[in-house]
Symmetry: C2
Subunit: 335 residues, 2 copies
Amino acid sequence: MDNKKLVVLTGDRPTGPLHLGHYVGSLQQRVTLQDECTQYVMVADLQAMTDNVDNPEKVRNNVLEVMFDYLAVGIDPKKTTFCIQSLIPQIAELTILYLNLVTVSRLSRNPTVKTEIQHKGYGESVTAGFLMYPVHQAADITCVKANLVPVGQDQLPMVEQTNEVVRSFNRIYQKEVLVEVKGMVSAVPRLPGIDGKSKMSKSLGNAIFLSDSADEVSKKVMQMYTDPNHIRIEDPGTVEGNTVFTYLDIFDPNKEEVTVLKEQYRRGGLGDVKIKRRLIEVLNTFLDPIRARRQEFAKDPQAVMKILLNGTDRTREVAAKTMEEARTAMKLIYE
Amino acid sequence: MDNKKLVVLTGDRPTGPLHLGHYVGSLQQRVTLQDECTQYVMVADLQAMTDNVDNPEKVRNNVLEVMFDYLAVGIDPKKTTFCIQSLIPQIAELTILYLNLVTVSRLSRNPTVKTEIQHKGYGESVTAGFLMYPVHQAADITCVKANLVPVGQDQLPMVEQTNEVVRSFNRIYQKEVLVEVKGMVSAVPRLPGIDGKSKMSKSLGNAIFLSDSADEVSKKVMQMYTDPNHIRIEDPGTVEGNTVFTYLDIFDPNKEEVTVLKEQYRRGGLGDVKIKRRLIEVLNTFLDPIRARRQEFAKDPQAVMKILLNGTDRTREVAAKTMEEARTAMKLIYE
């Protein structure tokens, strides 16, 4: 496929600052994709509202935090269009149209939503907004006619839900208005949290944030999960599932030295503190320029807001065109 | 209550021309209300889409038919603001916010929606759009801060649903942005169809339309349900539940003569054809000026569309103000 024809939409719920898991899982990919595709990065404030209905201020405040993170890691407003979901009314308008194309039982069977409802313990109290957020997401994606969305394996059902809407709409209104989207599943395995759990996550309290100071990084690495059976330095240790080595594999540019360290650790004679000190240095070397850029951007929040609002204006224009095409296909034109 | 402070929202799904049942149940009331309140009449094209997803053209075409009916019965664009739902994006935007305030199980328990789902035989195939249309309706009502909606008894649960949204929103965001609404239940009993069934309805094929010709009215009245036991003219007949008399009670301006006719019918000696001929005359006398005005308006559909679009512009301004207040209360302001 001609890459110039690729339109990518990605984004995050602005519920907290971004962490190394975001970097490995999506941010670094966005830095690459912006050179190859038309890329939209959406700050999904309304989607964040689905489970922060009592706390819009948290969502609002994290919009800029997330933007600082984006800019700090090198997502470039000259190459990427940033936008804020709640300022694009066409997303809401398309959602209303799409809700007629999706049954409630189909939404209830969506595996991603089902799992989330279980995890959050919503049960009978699940809100309409939460149940139908995949439809809202379909509107996010289709309003800019994105044909590629980077996703985790667990989000593939969301892509399928979007494509069902796309196919229904185009079939019923007999026009190829909406564009099917391909989920690009990341080859990178998920970064575990510092507790060794499968997923780094703010809510699990096991995250290293891009905005953490060198000291915070140091403290967190020192608490990091290693090999619980590696008690004395001279004991042989296990490298697999040892979070420090997982991180070194990803962040340490000197792969040869990591290989040597692994052998030594397996044999015995290499202490956890030593490898943790190395990881602290590696992470801080990696994070230093990100932190520096982040501080620069954070000095002028107005300028960053302007970047977001300018991108939102451009996105709204594209979305308005899509909405107009949808209306025309449906012959719901009044003039 | 000071009537000038009353803001009324009413409307119809544009799925067909309006009939005598609409006139008796709501249109004549709107003609009165427009002198007493700020009145919005919404052509609910998106709500019509919830069960006409395959047939937007039907919806689109009936928008003007409904407008002709409105204007013909005397709803006056100088006194009433007409608007078209799909051209007010704030309704969609508010709906998205409100969906987070309503649980799926609450929507599933809404008696009006439950009954409709049963009647339409949707079962498991009910769409998300259909289930959540009460929330969409809450956005219709609240976007213009209506505090009065004329409803049938069976629609009171919709009013309650709206007020639940209003109370939740104002409580959570600690500001009286939204306005509670009162359902004004019509004292007028429902006009039965010509088959004597409880409700006149296009889909039941028992309706006399405001746009029916004198001949059509004549034919329909001649088929009208009377007293099935009143076989010969000289037989005593029953007036109660006799559709012809129900209509005469409503439409015949000469109440005394109707009383005399009822007595005669009860005694025996008054034929169905005779009372039907009287009703035909009464209805055509009533409908003649409506038909004449309707024809006038139908000659210039562009002018009628302009009335609708001008009203929509005014409504959109009011809705934009409400949306801005909602954003401000939620502190979801970006600038």
